[in-house]
């Protein structure tokens, strides 16, 4: 096997700085939106006392989940010893850290008192999954940086496998923790199930890989580095597997809920008569995020086209955002069932939603803040691959998988 050569991203300076300028603009707009929300208070958002977590959480959770998923690519190479994935490891670590930083930034800037972040970092309540997540997230960043070091530094190479294994276990814990933020909310009908934790893990596999493939294709395309057919095929097959797994868990999640009669109302809300949430579930989560990409990725002809694979990744990402919108916001919009067997006629003042579905319309600042977080993740990635040797020179088949070449030759 040839030695893998890593090189900085060598696109033309105008292009590079152009990309940075665009990202900086996106981040500036997101930052301004966050400042506006903080200055005015959350009344300028669509969030209310009924829907307390809005669009920023959809983006933040997506980015955090995708972050741990993006690290999978490195794990497959080092932990599971798939040589083909080895050259992909460095970008995997970088992207994972970048996505996590972007997601956390969105999460923090949506706090009511982001100025008290130091309180969150110094005062812990260990019965809170949120508090554990603070450790899981900061730990993830530190471990990923260490992992990158073992991959990039010759002296560190012997530690690559143990550190990689540790990172893999840590990322599983991280996504389990993220899923548990919702799964352990016993008071809410749509949550209150342990299956949310593994479902988030599988979602992270799919969304993280989709983001990874897109970033890989984009950066390679601009720098005219080759991605071999075999490499593409392996990645798209893996993505298809994960997307299928997400659909499977979605099915089990809803079957679990449907089986218990006490949840039938919230299920019919999500699946049948929930308006925008029903639409986003079937059209966004299932169709765009699941069936359409599966159709592309398993299509005998289209799956060979890089553009179609990229499109499939895009669909998975859009579907993922829709899925998290349904999970996070749909479940809050549905009223809390406090009085079984009774219908709530009045619940405080008319605007104060109790017995009816709470309204929520995402406001511009919220969306811009979320997109700003994506911008931060992309900026870190762009600068990282430009100044350090993250990207392999070539992912052409003969460079990464000589056995395959030998096989085909023989």
């Amino acid at each position: 096997m040839k030695r893998i050569v890593y090189r900085e991203w060598r696109i033309a300076p105008e292009r590079y700085w152009g990309i940075l300028a665009i990202l900086a603009g996106v981040i500036a707009i997101g930052g301004a939106a966050a400042l506006y929300m903080e200055h005015e208070g959350h009344w300028v958002t669509g969030m209310t006392n009924s829907v307390v977590w809005g669009m920023p959480h959809v983006f933040a959770v997506f980015l955090i989940v995708a972050a741990s998923g993006a690290l999978n690519v490195a794990s497959i190479g080092t932990v599971f010893g798939k040589r083909l994935y080895k050259p992909l490891g460095r970008l995997s670590g970088l992207l994972a850290s970048a996505l996590l930083v972007g997601g956390l930034l969105v999460l923090v800037l949506d706090l009511g008192r982001p100025d008290r972040l130091v309180v969150a970092m110094t005062t812990y309540n260990f019965s809170s999954i949120f508090a554990w997540n603070i450790f899981l997230y900061t730990g993830f960043l530190i471990i990923t940086v260490g992992y990158l070091w073992t991959m990039a530094e010759r002296k560190g190479n012997p530690f690559m496998r143990p550190v990689g294994t540790f990172a893999f276990l840590w990322r599983l814990a991280l996504t389990t923790g993220t899923g548990s933020i919702f799964g352990f909310l016993v008071g809410r009908q749509a949550y209150d199930t342990a299956i949310l934790a593994p479902m988030f893990v599988v979602m992270s596999f799919a969304y993280g890989l989709a983001v990874y493939i897109l970033v890989l294709m984009f950066s390679f395309h601009l720098d005219e580095r080759p991605i071999g057919e075999r490499m593409l095929k392996r990645l798209k097959n893996l993505l298809a597997l994960f997307v299928g797994a997400v659909l499977y868990f979605t099915l089990v999640y809803h079957l679990t809920k449907l089986y218990g009669a006490k949840y039938s109302d919230v299920e019919s809300f999500i699946l049948v008569n929930g308006g925008i949430y029903t639409f986003l579930f079937w059209f966004g989560w299932v169709l765009v995020g699941g069936l359409v990409p599966l159709g592309i990725l398993y299509h005998p002809e289209r799956s060979k086209s890089a553009s179609w694979v990229a499109a499939a990744c895009g669909f998975v990402i859009v579907g993922g955002l829709a899925a998290l919108y349904v999970i996070i916001i749909g479940s809050q919009a549905y009223p809390l069932e406090m009085f079984p067997g009774q219908t709530v006629i009045e619940f405080g003042l008319p605007g104060d939603i109790g017995g009816t579905v709470a309204g929520y319309a995402p406001s511009f600042p919220e969306i811009l803040l979320g997109i700003g977080g994506v911008g931060v993740a992309m900026l870190i990635t762009a600068v990282g691959i430009r100044v350090l040797q993250f990207l392999p020179e070539s992912l052409a088949d003969q460079d990464v998988d000589p056995h395959a070449m030998a096989r085909s030759a023989g």
Binding site: M47, L111, F184, V344, I345
Partner: protein
């Protein structure tokens, strides 16, 4: 608005200082020379940390809760300065109703089979095992030794996870800048709050809550405040005398607020 409390306040404070602790159960009256005697009682403010010898709670008799009456809600708003919240300019009025802080709600439910209508006030249920306390990352949401579940605004970061966890929708997030607030009820943008059983009254030795007082004043007497741990106290006697339930009993939260006739 007040103008010249300053003098009186400090004087009272001086009085308290010399009077620490000893005031409980003692009646003393002295008239400062040259002043009109006010028929005002000043209960002794607390000097020792609260203990778990008491657990404050409520019993709500839904049969006595009158349709259309909002006395408890209005009393709570007055007592805790909730009526001082103003809708920010440009905020949608209907949405604002779901963004302003509310500690107590008048709820009306109808039985799906019998059609029987029940009225009840719903506030923080002061669980013995509060989910909001479990999930709070900083420990700002906490349960006091005497069973009152409240938010320490000094450590609340406004993450709103407690609102996600509360099965009663009892908590409110302050969505706007608060210009006017009462000394006894601090309030500011970006923190979460909820019913604290008029903790400022209890700490001053005044064992009462505004909602129950208002209800009694209206002649309904649907809300009874008391000590769940005092076996011979009025609350426990009332609980013994009639069947009562907890809202979402299935969650096993052991609420401090109980409902009769639900």
């Amino acid at each position: 608005m007040t103008d010249t409390h300053n003098d009186k306040e400090t004087a009272v404070d001086n009085g308290r200082r010399t009077f620490l602790g000893g005031a409980v159960g003692v009646s003393a009256a002295a008239v400062a020379p040259g002043l009109v005697l006010h028929e005002l009682a000043q209960a002794a403010p607390r000097t020792e940390p609260v203990t778990d010898l008491h657990r404050w709670g409520l019993l709500i008799d839904t049969a006595k809760c009158a349709d259309g009456c909002r006395a408890c809600v209005e009393a709570c708003e007055q007592e805790n300065g909730l009526n001082l919240q103003t809708r920010p300019e440009g905020a949608d009025p209907l949405k604002w109703e779901d963004q302003r802080a509310v500690w107590i709600r008048k709820v009306k439910v109808q039985d799906n089979i019998s059609g029987h209508v029940t009225n009840l006030p719903l506030m923080c249920q002061h669980c013995a095992n509060p989910p909001c306390v479990d999930v709070c990352p900083t420990g700002a949401s906490f349960k006091r030794a005497d069973g009152i579940v409240m938010v320490d605004r000094h450590t609340c970061i406004g993450c709103r996870y407690c609102m996600m966890a509360c099965p009663y929708k009892a908590r409110s997030f302050i969505h706007e800048k608060v210009a006017e607030k009462l000394t006894r009820a601090p309030r500011g943008k970006g923190c979460v709050e909820s019913c604290n059983l008029c903790v400022h009254r209890l700490d001053e030795g005044d064992l009462s809550v505004a909602c129950a007082d208002a209800c009694t004043e209206q002649g309904h007497g649907a809300i009874l405040f008391g000590d769940l741990k005092d076996p011979n106290g009025p609350l426990r006697q009332a609980l013994r005398a009639q069947p009562s339930r907890q809202v979402r009993e299935n969650l096993g939260l052991n609420t401090g607020v109980r409902y009769a006739g639900l």
